[in-house]
């Protein structure tokens, strides 16, 4: 029998995990829009050894939204749109946020 396979939706063990398909993950998007900021707050770090619960180090918090160079941000957004990372709709939404469109 000849089988022509179809596309299936990929899922994880616990459900459908987000898929970014070559696009930015949330962390990458944050890093791209905050080039001089600290990494985004992720999970807290746990320091300890087996048998010793250790201590939890608080996650670092970046400074809130530095609107540094709107023209530069606009240029970066145009690049992301032109290279297919974001859609035109997303570009427009982000442009509105930057306030340069």
């Amino acid at each position: 029998m000849i089988l022509v396979p179809r596309q299936l939706q990929r899922a994880g063990m616990t459900g459908n995990v987000p898929y970014y398909g070559g696009r930015f993950t949330p962390a990458q998007a944050y890093a791209a829009s905050h080039p001089h900021a600290q990494p985004p707050p992720a999970q807290a770090a746990v320091v300890g050894t087996r048998g010793n619960p250790g201590r939890v180090l608080p996650a670092s918090h970046p400074p809130p939204h530095p609107p540094e160079n709107p023209a530069g941000q606009l240029e970066a957004l145009q690049h992301l749109r032109d290279t297919g990372v974001i859609t035109s709709t997303e570009y427009q939404e982000l442009c509105d946020r930057v306030g340069q469109c």
Binding site: L3, G15, V17
Partner: protein, 158 residues
């Protein structure tokens, strides 16, 4: 194998390549043991040979296995006979999310076994996660080098 029972746990599609298929029964024996232990259940198994870029040829079941082995997998994996506008819409939806097809996994000219494996053990855990409001953000397996690192980190003297 095809018991007709309700699928409760997450189902894994495991694709294994074989240069020279030599099924001694060892894999099925282990799967049988895991089934009896309530860990996993082999729902179906399909052997295929990649013919060209678009198609596979299904192969006969190994000796001693049910004659209808693989039919469930074929029905699940095969593309639609015809495409309607709704199908296009569904396909677009799949493509926007995580998409996968057998053609991405098996090189042309090679033989593969496609197993549908229900992880029975995971059903209660998945339910507990959902009841706790947990949302899957990511899921992957550690690579060998990180497994070795983990093993080292787990040693008592560490």
């Amino acid at each position: 194998m095809r018991s007709g029972r309700t699928v409760l746990g997450p189902v894994q599609v495991l694709v294994l390549g074989f240069d020279q298929p030599a099924f001694t029964g060892e894999i099925l024996a282990e799967l049988t043991r895991l089934r009896e232990a309530g860990v996993v259940r082999l729902i179906d198994l399909l052997l295929v040979s990649r013919v060209d870029d678009d198609t596979f040829e299904t192969l006969a079941a190994p000796p001693g296995m049910p004659a209808d082995l693989g039919q469930l997998t074929v029905a699940l994996l095969r593309g639609p006979e015809t495409t309607s506008p709704d199908d296009d819409s569904d396909l677009a939806k799949v493509m926007e999310t995580a998409a996968w097809s057998l053609g991405e996994s098996v090189p042309v000219g090679s033989t593969a076994a496609v197993a549908l494996i229900e992880h029975i053990w995971a059903a209660p855990l998945r339910g507990a996660i959902q009841r706790a409001g947990g949302v899957p953000l990511d899921e992957t397996w550690l690579a060998q080098q990180d497994l070795e690192l983990l093993e080292e980190l787990e040693r008592p003297e560490h």
